[in-house]
C-alpha cells in the first residue's frame, strides 16, 4: 500500500485505522489505496525515483485456439527512493525477472502489460515509461536507466573487443570527443579495479569475475539514475561474488543512483540491500527494511526462507518447504501460498490478503500474521 501511496507520514493514519478494523474491511480498504491520487500532491521527504503501481504483466499465448495466460506479475506496487538499493527475492519462476523486465520496458510478446503503471522520476521529471516514444526510450536507456541482465557474464559481444562494446553502449550518451571518452572509461574501470588493458581484450580472454566487473562498469559509466541488476553474481563463486558486490555498492554510493537488485540469495540481500521485497507466485508478499524483513519476518513464506538457511556454526535441523511452487497458469485461489502454508486458515483459500503496513514501512500480505501485529502499530 505504501509503495503505491504517499510516504509514511501521510500513510500512517489510514493504514493505522485499517489495522484496527477486521480483516474483511482491510480488504475493502485496499482497492481505494491502490489508486493513490495523493502521491503527486504530497511532496515526499526523500526523492522517489521509481513508482510502480498495481503492475500486472501476463504471458499470453494462443495455440490451436487454446489460449493460456501465465500471470507472472500480478498486482505489484512498490517504490524506490534515490540512493537506495531495493532487493527482490523469491524462488525461481516467481516473477522476479519478469517484474524487472516490465519495469525497464524490455518486454516483447507474449509478455504484455495488462494493467498498472511504471513511473520514473529522472532529473525532476515524472515519466511513465509506457507512454514514451521509442526515441525517448532510447535516450533514457543507459543515460538514466541501465540494466545488468541475468547471466551478464555472457552478454558481451564475443567478436568485439571490450573497448568497442563501451563505444557501442555509451559513446552516444557521453557528449565528449573520443579521446576524452576513452580516458573517462579508463578512470571508470579503475573503480572496479580493472587495468586499462582489458579494453583491448576479447571477452573470452577475461575470467568470469572480470567480465562481470566489465559489465558493471558498462552499466554505470554514464552515471545512471537507476540501475537494475538481475542476479548479477549468481554464476560466480563466493570470493569473487563478495568482491563484485562490494564494488557494485561502492559505485552506487558514489554516483548516488538507485538500484533494484534481484537475487534469490538472502545472504546477498542482507549484505547489500536497504529494503527487501519478497515475491511469491507473481505477488509481493512482504516488504520492508532488509534488517526488519530478515530479523523479524512476518509472512510465513519469508520466515521459512530465512530460518531454513543453513549457517556456519549452526547445527540445528533445517527443513525444506513442503509441496511444489504453484503453476502461474492456474494459480491457487486466495493467497497463493496457502497450499504450502503451515498457518493457513479458511479465509486464505478464498480471498487474497492485501499488502498492508504492520509497522510503517513494513508491509505484509497475510491474513494470519499481519493483523496480529496491531499492538506494534499502536506504539
Amino acid at each position: 500500500m505504501s509503495a503505491a501511496g504517499p510516504p509514511q507520514g501521510a500513510n500512517s493514519s489510514p493504514s493505522g485505522g485499517s489495522e484496527a478494523a477486521p480483516a474483511a474491511s482491510v480488504g475493502a480498504h485496499q482497492p481505494s489505496a491502490a489508486v493513490p491520487s495523493s502521491a503527486a500532491d504530497v511532496k515526499p521527504a526523500t526523492e522517489r525515483v521509481l513508482t510502480v503501481r498495481d503492475l500486472r504483466a501476463y504471458y499470453r499465448t494462443k495455440y490451436f485456439g487454446v489460449s493460456r495466460e501465465v500471470r507472472a506479475v500480478d498486482g505489484v506496487s512498490l517504490h524506490v527512493d534515490r540512493n537506495e538499493i531495493y532487493g527482490l527475492a523469491g524462488e525461481s519462476s516467481c516473477g522476479k525477472t519478469t517484474l524487472v523486465k516490465t519495469i525497464v520496458r524490455a518486454i516483447r510478446p507474449p509478455l504484455g502489460v495488462v494493467d498498472g503503471s511504471v513511473t520514473f522520476n529522472f532529473a525532476g521529471r515524472d515519466r511513465d515509461i509506457y507512454a514514451l516514444t521509442q526515441n525517448e526510450l532510447e535516450s533514457i536507456r543507459w543515460r538514466h536507466l541501465s540494466y545488468i541482465l541475468q547471466g551478464s557474464m555472457n552478454v558481451l559481444n564475443p567478436v568485439r573487443r571490450v573497448r568497442q562494446s563501451f563505444v557501442d553502449f555509451a559513446y552516444r550518451h557521453i557528449q565528449q570527443p573520443m579521446p576524452e571518452f576513452l580516458a573517462q572509461i579508463e578512470s571508470h574501470l579503475d573503480r572496479v579495479r580493472l587495468a586499462p588493458t582489458v579494453l583491448d581484450a576479447y571477452p573470452h580472454e577475461l575470467s568470469g569475475g572480470m567480465r562481470q566487473r566489465v559489465t558493471i562498469a558498462l552499466a554505470t559509466v554514464c552515471r545512471p539514475d537507476f540501475i537494475i541488476a538481475d542476479e548479477p553474481t549468481t554464476a560466480l563463486d563466493v570470493v569473487v561474488q563478495k568482491d563484485v558486490l562490494t564494488m557494485l555498492r561502492e559505485i552506487q554510493r558514489e554516483i548516488r543512483s538507485s538500484m533494484i537488485l534481484v537475487t534469490h540469495d538472502i545472504g546477498v540481500h542482507a549484505n547489500v540491500t536497504d529494503r527487501l521485497g519478497i515475491m511469491y507466485a507473481g505477488r509481493l508478499v512482504e516488504e520492508g527494511r532488509t534488517v526488519d524483513v530478515i530479523r523479524n519476518p512476518r509472512h510465513p513464506y519469508t520466515s521459512h526462507l530465512v530460518t531454513s538457511l543453513p549457517r556456519i556454526g549452526d547445527v540445528t535441523q533445517k527443513r525444506g518447504l513442503e509441496g511444489t511452487p504453484p503453476n502461474l497458469a492456474a494459480p491457487p485461489t486466495g493467497c497463493r501460498f496457502h497450499p504450502r502454508c503451515p498457518l493457513a486458515i479458511a479465509a486464505c483459500c478464498v480471498e487474497a490478503p492485501p499488502l498492508i503496513d504492520v509497522v510503517p514501512g513494513h508491509r505484509v500480505a497475510c491474513w494470519v500474521t499481519a493483523p496480529l501485529k496491531e499492538p506494534v502499530i499502536a506504539q
Partner: protein, 277 residues
C-alpha cells in the same frame, strides 16, 4: 587393514593446452589424496572455487577421466584397470553420479520413468515389467516420491526439486555404496534445497551410502558433511573434520572462503571489505 571403499592416492591430471607453438601443461588436479573407509558411511564435502579441480576429481573417481599421476582404488581395485564390460558394469553399480543441473541431466524428449527402468534392468538385474516397476517404485519411495506420481511424465512437467529427487532415486536403484554428487543443490530453489540436503543425510544414515558432496556452498557443507576437503588451483589445501575446519580454518585460502560467505545474519551491519580481487 581392510581395503578402503575409496582410496584416492596422490592423484594428478595434466592437460596439454594451446597450439603447436604455445603448448603448455595445465595441472587441473595436483597430488590430491583422500580416503573413505568401507563400513562407516560418511559425507565428504569437496569445497573450492570454480576452476579448482573439484569436478575433474569427481570425473576421475567416476572413471570418466584417467589420472596422469597416482591411482584411484575402489575396494582395493584400481579403477583405471577396468577393461571388460562386466567389470565396468560392476563398478558403475557401486558408484553412481548425481549432476548439477537436473534440467540438463534428463533428455527432454524422453519420459522420465525410462531412466529408472533402464537403470533397474541394467544395474539391478530386474526382469519383467512387475519387477522393474517394483524396483523403481522402491527407489522413488526412498526419496519421498512414488512411481504413480512420476510414470509417463516428461522432465518439463516436474519442478527442479522433483527432478533432482528422481536423479537421486535413479542413482539408488543399483544400491550403490558410493554416490558422487557434483553441486547437487546449486540449481535447486532455496525452499526445496534443504529437503534435498536432508535426503543426503538420510541416505547416509539409513541406506549406509557414502557420499562425496562437491559444492562451493560452505553453509550446506557445514550442515551435512562429516569431513571436508578444501581445494584451490587443483591442490588440496586443507582437510579434516567438517565442523572443526569450517569453524576454525587454518589455511589462508580457507579463511578467505569463510570470510566471503554472505550470511543472512549480517543484515544491518556494514559489509566488511575484501582485500583481494
Amino acid at each position: 587393514m581392510s581395503a578402503a571403499l575409496l582410496d584416492v592416492d596422490h592423484v594428478g591430471i595434466t592437460y596439454t593446452v594451446g597450439g603447436l607453438f604455445s603448448r603448455r601443461n595445465l595441472r587441473a588436479v595436483d597430488d590430491v589424496s583422500l580416503r573413505l573407509e568401507a563400513g562407516s558411511p560418511e559425507i565428504l564435502a569437496i569445497i573450492g572455487e570454480s576452476g579448482s579441480g573439484k569436478t575433474t576429481l569427481a570425473r576421475m573417481i567416476l572413471n570418466l577421466a584417467a589420472p596422469t599421476a597416482g591411482a584411484i582404488r575402489f575396494l582395493g581395485a584400481d579403477v583405471t584397470r577396468i577393461r571388460s564390460n562386466r567389470e565396468r558394469m560392476a563398478f558403475m553399480r557401486q558408484v553412481q553420479p548425481i549432476f548439477q543441473n537436473p534440467f540438463e541431466a534428463f533428455n527432454p524428449l524422453k519420459r522420465i520413468d525410462r531412466y529408472l527402468f533402464v537403470s533397474a534392468r541394467r544395474f539391478a538385474g530386474a526382469h519383467g515389467r512387475a519387477d522393474i516397476d517394483a524396483r523403481a517404485d522402491k527407489a522413488l519411495h526412498q526419496v519421498g516420491l512414488s512411481l504413480a506420481e512420476v510414470k509417463g511424465r516428461f522432465p518439463h512437467e516436474l519442478s527442479g526439486g522433483q527432478l533432482q529427487r528422481i536423479a537421486i532415486a535413479r542413482a539408488l536403484i543399483s544400491a550403490p555404496s558410493l554416490i558422487i554428487a557434483d553441486e547437487p543443490v546449486s540449481m535447486v530453489d532455496a525452499s526445496l534445497r534443504m529437503s534435498i540436503v536432508n535426503l543426503f543425510k538420510a541416505l547416509r544414515d539409513e541406506l549406509k551410502v557414502s557420499i562425496v558432496y562437491i559444492t562451493h556452498d560452505l553453509a550446506t557443507a557445514y550442515y551435512i558433511s562429516d569431513r571436508v576437503l578444501i581445494m584451490q588451483h587443483g591442490k588440496a589445501v586443507e582437510s579434516g573434520e567438517a565442523r572443526a575446519v569450517l569453524d576454525h580454518p587454518q589455511h589462508p585460502y580457507s579463511i578467505l572462503l569463510k570470510n566471503a560467505v554472505l550470511s543472512p545474519d549480517d543484515a544491518g551491519k556494514p559489509m566488511s571489505p575484501v582485500g583481494v580481487s
